[in-house]
Subunit: 147 residues, 2 copies
Amino acid sequence: MIFSKSFGYALRGVLYVAIMTEEKQKIQLDEIAEKLTVPRYFLGKIMNKLVKEGILASEKGHKGGFSINDNTMQTSLLKLIKITGDNEMFDSCVLRLRKCNSKNPCPLHHEIETLRNQWHKLLAETTVNELMKKDQPDFIKSIATIA
Amino acid sequence: MIFSKSFGYALRGVLYVAIMTEEKQKIQLDEIAEKLTVPRYFLGKIMNKLVKEGILASEKGHKGGFSINDNTMQTSLLKLIKITGDNEMFDSCVLRLRKCNSKNPCPLHHEIETLRNQWHKLLAETTVNELMKKDQPDFIKSIATIA
DNA sequence: ATCTCAAAAGACATTCTTGTCTTTTATAGA
DNA sequence: TCTATAAAAGACAAGAATGTCTTTTGAGAT
């Protein structure tokens, strides 16, 4: 698979909070995990990472939960990818030949570089806000479906 | 990483055999693993898969080893990807929303579909033969370098 | 202060990929 | 037929990603 499960959970988690935040201020992990049909504790750790990275806010204790903050809506997919660890996707040679760079390119270097840049651009430009603006009819449903 | 280690090993293994086959008929696993700086037994299993899939020929025993066959040079990267198990890269939703298809697309479905199709095309059209025809000066070196 | 709630943190289990070692099988040559 | 050789096959180990459970921490409510 091109991206990790963690990335998918992170994205769907953020989106769920962003969508639900119109109805309530705080969204609990229990609800998120249940609605997204995602392993609760595992999601918890990912959400925690997002909080530490400043993508989301959280509060402990009574009436606690997750909520959006000033950064949430501007967060790019690329940022989520980096946070969840799928780095190096844009670093290393796709053919896995190590000695490959613009000076000493592998046979597919240039073709792949073009494609990779397009990916990079798309992922860097697509933010949580962008995704929500597209406003698909069943968007919330598609987020809530197991991946 | 976008592709698995196994894929990288498979590709480099095939390329090494294809290149060396001009000098000798049979290439031994020991040599391949050493030159590519790749775990010997692990590579052995991957080479074995390639043989079973008809991508390479092999012979046991004295004067045995790996060699190319009628299919080797026409083998596409896509084929290698499938053999080494990185399937579903072109199947499932990149955002990992399951209920995502052309009828019920996720917000990025169309943009991603375009990119994915380009990848698919490139990987399907690029064969072992194509790679070797490009004839980079240090191609054999770049194959032989650890990934 | 104490209780309850919910995230955070830490220990542990499972699964998948990758890597290693040993034994078996097949082939050529003496 | 026997020996050497090299791939194939099988058992096992290490590592990373994913998943589960328990304990701790922090905040509001009583």
